[in-house]
């Protein structure tokens, strides 16, 4: 709730970045974070729809999912998770230094976060390439090689169930990678704004907002990793 104020004093003390329809910087900051959290709510439901469909199919075809996940390389998954967690750390430190007004540290951590984000995408690229070579991409019809699925040599129907896992693998990680790209784009704009010295101790809302977004994308991956890579229990390391 806003504290009552008189119209005259309103224009004197606020910082240049206070939008005119807000009464105080604090109200603007709270509105921005609440707005971001409501947006993350919609993102949770967006990925939630896919998790729901994935869970239903996994309960319908447990055997097909377990044996198909032999083709996933958990080493890639674990590496990606570690990279993302480090990028989350650097993002948190970036927000912290923005809050304390340390411009150099802020820009350094933003660059680090972007580097780790790009590293994640590069690892993801290698993984997709490996699946492409391995003919495991059901998206392009005719490219999903039914015969080359060792666990079920000539069961076209069985590998139909298997291709559902790969469809969800590509959709979930694909949408996640898309969100990563948007995140990196967001980081570049925040970096440019930081370089122009826009942020200060009492105005750092954009950094906080992009931090929330980045951590959310990290959380989605935290759930994707066990669900997509570690299905078959007691599997030997590939």
């Amino acid at each position: 709730m806003t504290e009552p104020h008189s119209a005259v004093a309103e224009h004197a003390e606020h910082s240049p970045y206070l939008r005119h329809h807000f009464d105080s910087m604090e109200q603007q900051f709270d509105s921005a974070t609440l707005g971001m959290w409501v947006f993350l709510l919609t993102e949770i439901m967006f990925f939630g729809g896919m998790f729901g469909a994935y869970t239903v199919y996994r309960s319908m075809y447990p055997a097909a999912f377990a044996s198909t996940s032999m083709h996933m390389n958990p080493a890639f998954g674990a590496a990606n998770t570690a990279v993302l967690i480090v990028s989350s750390l650097t993002m948190a430190l970036a927000v912290r230094s923005a809050r304390l007004g340390k411009q150099q540290a802020l820009q350094m951590f933003l660059v680090l976060t972007m580097l780790f984000g790009i590293a994640f995408l590069v690892i993801k690229g290698f993984e997709y390439h490996e699946h492409w070579v391995d003919m495991k991409v059901p998206l392009f019809s005719g490219h999903w090689d039914y015969s080359n699925t060792p666990e079920f040599p000539h069961q076209a129907q069985y590998s139909h169930q298997a291709q559902i896992l790969f469809c969800f693998y590509f959709f979930m990680t694909g949408f996640h990678a898309l969100h990563m790209l948007v995140g990196v784009g967001l980081m570049t704009t925040i970096l440019m704004m930081a370089r122009h010295g826009i942020f200060s101790k009492d105005y750092f809302t954009p950094v906080e907002i992009s931090g929330l977004y980045w951590h959310f994308v990290d959380i989605v991956w935290i759930f994707l990793f066990p669900l997509l890579y570690l299905i078959g229990n007691a599997r030997k390391l590939i």
């Binding site: 709730m1 806003t2 009552p4 119209a7 005119h20 329809h21 807000f22 109200q27 709270d30 509105s31 609440l34 707005g35 409501v38 947006f39 709510l41 919609t42 993102e43 439901m45 967006f46 990925f47 939630g48 729809g49 896919m50 729901g52 469909a53 239903v56 199919y57 319908m60 075809y61 059901p138 998206l139 392009f140 019809s141 129907q157 139909h160 169930q161 291709q163 559902i164 469809c167 969800f168 959709f171």
Partner: protein, 547 residues
């Protein structure tokens, strides 16, 4: 269209219409009122496009053997009627037009919380509309507005992906409006405007925003999966390649049932405003009416299974969803009873908005109760997918939502444009709409129970008489819609000038000039009394502005 709005002699006092001119001032505006006017124009265009398809359907159904167009074209008619009406008129209409305009004013705010996101939501709506219109122009889509797989993903060869992308994009416009409303109501209320004093129109739009934010992403991902499945021939929902079409229906109706509450809840908010203003009484049982909006929003997410009783969903799931659908009907009943009780010992005037409110209360009661037929398992097996369902949801959507929209437009027209609409013509149009509507859709209850299935291009000959009655009613209804369009446009130029508070209503929006200034109020008002304090203990003619 937009030039007609800025007639200089409307009001000398600076207001949001004459504060700046030129198309840039409209297309790059951050003023929630101008964005609301942009939405009103685009909503009306889409409404009449949907209406054209509706009239083509009704003409086609004059004869049992279906000889106006072949069945493929007829399927495209009802699909486009469904898509355009549901996603481009019903869902955005009251929140994006009247909500955008009046929610900030009713809580005493100068602006919405995120003005640029609000403009972005209109552009996204226009982008979605362009895709949908492209799907129409290129050749139409014939999957029904429900896009059921595996027909939509594998067997239909029409522009399904174009339409799905259009709906996908329009969904984000709805999300952004919802997000804006939630943050505005939480963070930007005027001092003294506690939750207990919020007007019920704001409560209804807040509950609607919760549904928009929680439900729309799921239909976005569902349509994305159908689009991807169609593009890459993979088998998420295609049983031949291991998918499960029932899962599509679960994911689709998870959003689409709360979507019907997105459509009706703002209408209920408008009716609460109309009934209180034209009975000059505060609402009966304010906390219950406000809580019932939230109740509908939350329980609305637990009931979608009643669309799938006959699809082979398990028996116990049908039991679960049937029971909860009975529960979701209770808040709607509370609202109806409270509106009726509000009129008790009131001083009721028969202005056009009140006529629409009477119509709404009557027709929404029929619509709601026929919904119980569809929630009752025994009867639903017989009547689902027949014209009984068509009649039910038109009673709620047209009898409820469109009447509320027209009532709200008439109620707030003087505030939006500073001009009064012609009362005589408006009353005539209201009666036309009421009569035409009942003649159109009541016979469909009868043909529904007789067993005429939905979406039929040619039907059994014994249903013809009832269908002819329905088409006759549709023509009266169509006329009833065109008259308001004419006199609203006429009134912008020639309508008598309306004062700041023609209905001497109590809301904050009536305490400022009409049309309101760009920042709604000279000073942020201080709220001291309850929402509808008609004849409250304070002086009956309290001063306009408290300092």
């Amino acid at each position: 269209m937009s030039t007609a709005l800025q007639t200089p002699e409307v009001a000398e006092t600076p207001n949001y219409l004459n504060s700046e001119y030129g198309w840039k001032s409209w297309l790059f505006t951050k003023d929630h009122k101008r964005i609301a006017v942009l939405y009103i124009i685009s909503i009306t265009v889409m409404f009449f496009i949907g209406g054209i398809f509706a009239s083509l359907i009704r003409i086609e159904l004059l004869t049992p053997q279906g000889d106006l167009v072949n069945s493929g074209t007829y399927n495209k008619f009802f699909t486009m009627h469904g898509i355009v009406m549901v996603f481009f008129f019903l869902i955005p209409s009251i929140p994006a037009t009247l909500g955008n305009f009046f929610l900030p004013m009713q809580i005493g705010a100068k602006y919405l919380a995120f003005p640029r996101i609000n403009l972005l939501s209109w552009y996204i709506y226009i982008a979605g509309a362009i895709f949908a219109l492209a799907a129409i122009v290129l050749g139409g889509v014939d999957t029904g507005w429900t896009f059921y797989t595996p027909f939509s993903s594998t067997y239909s060869n029409t522009f399904v992906i174009t339409a799905a992308v259009g709906v996908f994009i329009a969904g984000f416009s709805s999300i952004l409006t919802g997000l804006n409303f939630i943050v505005t109501v939480h963070k930007m209320r005027a001092p003294g405007m506690t939750w207990g004093r919020l007007p019920l129109f704001v409560w209804a739009n807040y509950a609607t925003s919760l549904i928009q934010v929680l439900g729309t992403p799921v239909v976005a991902i569902t349509l994305a999966l159908v689009g991807l499945e169609r593009a890459f021939h993979i088998g998420i929902f295609d049983p031949a390649i291991g998918g499960d079409p029932i899962l599509f229906q679960h994911m689709f109706w998870f959003y689409s049932h709360p979507a019907v509450y997105i459509m009706i809840l703002p209408g209920m908010g408008v009716i609460s405003e109309l009934v209180t203003c034209f009975s000059r009484k505060s609402i009966f049982g304010y906390p219950f009416v406000a809580a019932s909006s939230l109740g509908i929003a939350i329980i609305g997410f637990l009931v979608w299974g009643h669309h799938m009783f006959v699809t082979g969903m398990s028996m116990y799931a049908s039991l679960y969803f049937s029971l909860l659908t009975m529960l979701v009907a209770v808040p709607s009943a509370i609202k109806i009873f409270n509106w009726t009780a509000t009129m008790f010992r009131g001083s009721i005037s028969y202005d056009t908005p009140m006529l629409y409110a009477f119509g709404f209360i009557g027709l929404f009661t029929i619509g709601g109760l026929t919904g119980l037929f569809l929630a009752t398992l025994g009867v639903d097996v017989h009547v689902t997918d027949t014209y009984f369902v068509v009649a039910h949801f038109h009673y709620v959507m047209v009898g409820g939502m469109v009447l509320a929209y027209l009532g709200g437009m008439h109620f707030w027209w003087p505030k939006i444009t500073g001009r009064m609409y012609p009362e005589g013509w408006a009353k005539f149009a209201a009666l036309l709409v009421f009569a035409g509507f009942n003649l159109t859709f009541f016979p469909q209850f009868i043909t529904g129970y007789l067993g005429q299935p939905r979406r039929y291009h040619a039907y059994a000959p014994e249903f013809q008489v009832l269908n002819v009655m329905s088409t006759a009613g549709a023509s009266v209804l169509g006329l009833g819609y065109i008259i308001p369009l004419i006199y609203f446009l006429w009134s912008m130029k020639y309508g008598p000038k309306a004062g700041n508070n023609p209905w001497n209503a109590k809301g904050l929006e009536w305490q400022t000039t009409s049309p309101p200034p760009t920042f709604n109020f000279e000073q942020t008002p201080i709220v001291t009394e309850d929402a509808y304090a008609y004849g409250s203990e304070s002086a009956p003619e309290e001063a306009h502005h408290h300092d």
